[in-house]
Symmetry: C2
Subunit: 122 residues, 2 copies
DNA sequence: CGGAATCCAGTATGATACTG
DNA sequence: CAGTATCATACTGGATTCCG
């Protein structure tokens, strides 16, 4: 065993894969939409706003596959499909919130830097 | 004033822009490479491994523009350009580390979920 | 050495139409 | 309602070449 400073099974590729998930355009917004309770497909679509049907389908499928979201089908007519944030998804949303707080707190300074940089016409 | 729960200047687009930066393929790896000290262009390239010249150039330029990294040119022959993590960049790296820790801690469970999901041939 | 410029492939995303 | 299928397009990232 030479992995003295990392828990067994830790894989950098897996970690950066999750980071890229966080950075994708819709995943986090969908997770946030589900934080306060279950929603159905078009409910999420309304809540997120701007997302296409296809991207919502894909995003939800990925989230379900990863165990972040649970999908429940009611065989009524018309059918109803309910999406609920699983514990893993809640946990992720809490962690991401810290990052979002950081971003909110520092975006002013970042925009300042950009203005200065652009003013110098690099 | 109706913005009772947000600091002035907070903008969701700015926040998700930063999240997408975190999720991009190279930004975080470059920041991590610089955490322990300054490095020159090809030093970062060696440290990160797998990054192309162009992507490193682009990534560094963006990081510099945002005030995460400082760039110092020494007009020697051949020229030397040193990159240093600015306080803002250090701050970001600390925040991202929490997310990386979460990812490392939960990727086992996520992989499990995926296997189960795929086994059911959805 | 530290880039800039160009070209190109793969993927992410969007719009639209159709289905059970 | 909750998707699937198809096409079009934009953006990301990689390879290569050239420059001060």
């Amino acid at each position: 065993m030479d992995m003295t400073d990392k828990p067994a099974g830790t894989d950098c590729r897996g970690v950066s894969e999750i980071l890229s998930r966080v950075g994708d355009k819709w995943t986090i917004q969908v997770v946030i939409a589900l934080r306060l309770g279950s929603l159905r497909f078009n409910g999420i679509k309304r809540e997120v706003g701007g997302i296409s049907q296809q991207m919502l389908t894909r995003t939800l499928k990925t989230l379900e596959r990863d165990g972040m979201v649970e999908r429940t089908v009611r065989h009524t007519t018309p059918p109803q499909v309910e999406y609920t944030l699983a514990p893993l998804g809640h946990s992720l949303s809490e962690t991401v919130r810290h990052l979002a707080d950081w971003a909110a707190a520092h975006q002013g300074r970042i925009k300042e830097h950009r203005s200065q940089y652009d003013a110098r016409q690099h």
